[in-house]
């Protein structure tokens, strides 16, 4: 993400005619940045390359003597495996549903926070509380709340049923926990977008007889589109890597495991570095693809998109 944010700044400098002094200054700037850039490369580049390298081997800590280079066999194994596609489907489902709900609720919350006249600080702080709670802690309280016989939510909505042990209700609870946790984050990003909408524009639209809904759809949403896209992108990438909530709520039982859960199971529980690395590379590719799609397909206005480049 940092890369996409930095780029416009760098380009702007480029466009100005550069004097000798500026050039020297720029060189110094690069040199000052170099150590940080190198560290970044070492801590992000090296693990990525290493896991690609691991993914091309039969490397299982339980059979250390049988380590060997096997090309793309691991990818064939994973991509033809029904467990992987099951987890992939579950992850996609959780991502799409939770992000969609988060967008709607987040927008509502953002408007409330933006428009609040009294006790603005208090309202915003209270709204942000779920985001401030550690995910695992929140996940445990959801789990206890939905536990058969002892949980208050279980008692309220489904007395006598163990919802977390049934697939569809368990997925519902996972999505609920995700939504509850990240709506404030979504709202925060969207609120920044709302601040971009000039009041004059809304007033002008109002003068022209636009209803509140029309003002929202025709004025507010188009103006804040970049903010919406950024929020969606962030959340989709995050949601696709969902782990903590599932780990605590169901531990992947009843086919509720995400791709991250499965990677963890193969890598840490199964000690199969080859298959596990293959999965993490595949997740990396999926996440990269999501980012690419957002920017290329949806986003003429997305950060780094064509629109911004022209500016």
């Amino acid at each position: 993400m940092t890369r996409t944010l930095d780029r416009p700044v760098a380009r702007r400098a480029e466009r100005k005619g550069l004097s000798e002094g500026k050039k020297a200054e720029r060189k110094l700037g690069w040199m000052l940045c170099a150590p940080a850039a190198l560290v970044m490369l070492a801590v992000t580049g090296y693990p990525i390359v290493y896991s690609v390298w691991l993914s091309l081997q039969r490397y299982d800590l339980r059979f250390p003597d049988q380590r060997q280079f096997i090309g793309i066999d691991n990818y064939v194994t994973v991509l033809t495996n029904s467990y992987w596609w099951m987890a992939f489907g579950v992850t996609t489902l959780i991502t799409v549903i939770s992000v969609a709900i988060e967008l709607v609720l987040g927008m509502a919350l953002a408007i409330v926070m933006h428009r609040t006249l009294v006790m603005r600080g208090l309202v915003r702080t209270v709204a942000l509380i779920p985001y401030g709670i550690v995910t695992v802690v929140a996940a445990f309280s959801w789990r206890y709340a939905w536990t058969q016989d002892t949980g208050y939510l279980a008692d309220l909505f489904a007395p006598g049923a163990a919802l977390l042990t049934e697939r569809v209700p368990a997925l519902g609870i996972i999505i609920l926990a995700e939504v509850w946790k990240t709506v404030p984050f979504m709202a925060l990003l969207l609120m920044a977008g709302l601040a971009l909408v000039p009041d004059d524009l809304l007033k002008a639209a109002s003068m022209d007889g636009a209803s509140a809904w029309q003002r929202f759809v025709k004025v507010t949403v188009p103006v804040m589109k970049p903010a919406i896209l950024v929020a969606l992108l962030f959340r989709t990438l995050d949601a696709f890597r969902v782990f903590d909530n599932i780990f605590v709520l169901t531990n992947g039982a009843q086919q509720t495991g995400s791709v991250s859960m499965q990677t963890y199971n193969n890598l840490i529980k199964g000690l199969n570095l080859g298959i596990g690395s293959t999965m993490s590379v595949l997740i990396f590719l999926a996440v990269a693809l999501i980012a690419f799609l957002f920017i290329k397909v949806f986003g003429t206005a997305a950060p780094g998109g064509a629109d911004e480049r022209k500016r």
């Binding site: 299982d60 800590l61 339980r62 250390p64 194994t77 099951m86 199971n265 529980k269 000690l271």
Partner: protein
């Protein structure tokens, strides 16, 4: 320098005496073991026995088996030298040995462990013919039944289901309780039934998935129970403690469970406990005694330990006859040393000790393979829920997926 020393002294004075004291007064042997009641007493006794040469520190691992294994595996994979003695579930020895994480027992240490220890538990501590751990305690499941309802305990699986059906027809408590949730407990039941039917899951050298005719009959037995009217509605969700509680509730006639239920029942429901009787685990085939798979814990010494000699000595002390007797009486875990069973002190708290010993004599072990974790996860996934088992087809699927697991191609769900 002097200032620094003064600071160290001050810190030591503030901190727990043990933390700083250990560096001066010698070696600490770190034992990592799962939660077991009163095990700290055994550790204290062995520290005393060391006569000041070393101190044994007990580090309690998480309660759940997966958590225990993950903590040890993660640290051993990184070559952590702070772990000396490891408490391993009987199914982990092959994996840890093959990975080169635990040290082989040789010479006098080896003979001290092998001497007088039951053969079944010893098998779980061996890998490729070498001894890698010392059996600390063992475990076998028994058939627990209501003595007031059942006069003659069933000797075969089919007989058990027939008796239960008859009880149901008579309107009496009739449920047969088994651990059928998707977890290790289901694998234990399956492995027991396969061994009873004379079948095999993996080949002896654990390179091939066999899943033979005996395994198919075991699958049939599981299916028979799961689809029978006397099975519990929550079978596919039941773990050890769930079925213990269900039996305590009085609705069931039979439960297949570990011996811990005896003490728990005596505490929770003394009236029903007096009616609860035990018998050997039922067999699959008529006229053949059932074979059960054993559980329990083994003690191993980490290959990365800096005090291996002391660690071997400490491990031996923690599992010697005296310690095992103490643990059997105070924590209810069955001993691995045969002579302990003859101890008269065991009669009171351990009335079913002869049944346990008899089962141990013809016990089988769960598949011994470094890939056990994957094998077990796949079995429990494929067999869950038990009512969906289709014996020949399920066996084919097991054979294929287990073979992949042995070739490091198995994907854990």
């Amino acid at each position: 320098m002097r200032a620094a020393r003064r600071i160290t002294a001050a810190v030591c004075a503030v901190a727990l005496a043990s933390a700083c004291g250990s560096e001066e007064s010698g070696t600490t042997v770190n034992v990592y073991y799962s939660t077991e009641e009163n095990f700290d007493q055994v550790v204290a006794k062995c520290t005393e026995a060391a006569g000041g040469r070393y101190r044994i520190a007990l580090n309690t691992l998480p309660r759940e088996a997966d958590g225990q294994r993950e903590q040890m595996v993660r640290r051993l994979a990184a070559g952590d030298s702070d772990m000396d003695v490891l408490g391993l579930d009987v199914t982990w020895v092959a994996e840890f040995a093959e990975a080169g994480w635990i040290a082989e027992w040789t010479g006098a240490d080896k003979s001290a462990v092998e001497d007088g220890t039951l053969e079944g538990p010893l098998d779980t501590a061996r890998w490729t013919g070498k001894l890698y751990a010392a059996p600390k305690n063992t475990n076998v499941q028994l058939l627990w039944y209501r003595g007031d309802l059942v006069t003659q305990p069933p000797s075969t699986w089919a007989e058990m289901l027939d008796q239960a059906r008859a009880l149901k027809a008579a309107g009496k408590p009739s449920t047969v309780l088994m651990t059928g949730a998707q977890y290790e407990g289901l694998v234990v039941q399956f492995a027991t039934l396969v061994a009873s039917a004379g079948g095999k899951i993996l080949s002896d050298d654990s390179t091939r998935a066999v899943v033979d005719d005996g395994a198919v009959r075991a699958l049939q037995a599981l299916r028979d129970l799961a689809t029978s009217p006397v099975s519990s509605p929550s079978l596919s969700n039941a773990k050890e403690d769930d079925i213990r509680l269900a039996f305590q509730g009085g609705e069931a006639a039979f439960q297949l469970n570990w011996p811990f239920v005896y003490a728990a029942m005596a505490k929770a429901n003394p009236e029903l406990a007096s009616k609860m009787k035990w018998a050997p685990y039922p067999s699959v085939d008529q006229g053949k005694a059932g074979t059960v798979t054993i559980g329990g814990f083994n003690l191993a010494v980490s290959e990365y330990s800096r005090h291996k000699a002391e660690a071997f000595e400490a491990a031996k002390c923690l599992r010697d006859a005296e310690s095992q007797k103490y643990s059997a009486i105070n924590s209810g875990v069955p001993p691995t040393i045969e002579s302990v069973y003859d101890d008269p002190d065991l009669a009171g708290p351990y009335p079913m000790r002869d049944a346990i010993r008899a089962e141990l004599k013809r016990a089988a072990v769960r598949p011994l393979t470094p890939a056990y974790q994957t094998v077990s996860t796949l079995i429990s996934t494929i067999l869950s829920p038990p009512s969906s088992i289709d014996p020949p087809a399920t066996a084919d699927r097991l054979r294929k997926e287990l073979q992949d697991a042995l070739d490091s191609k198995g994907v854990l769900p």
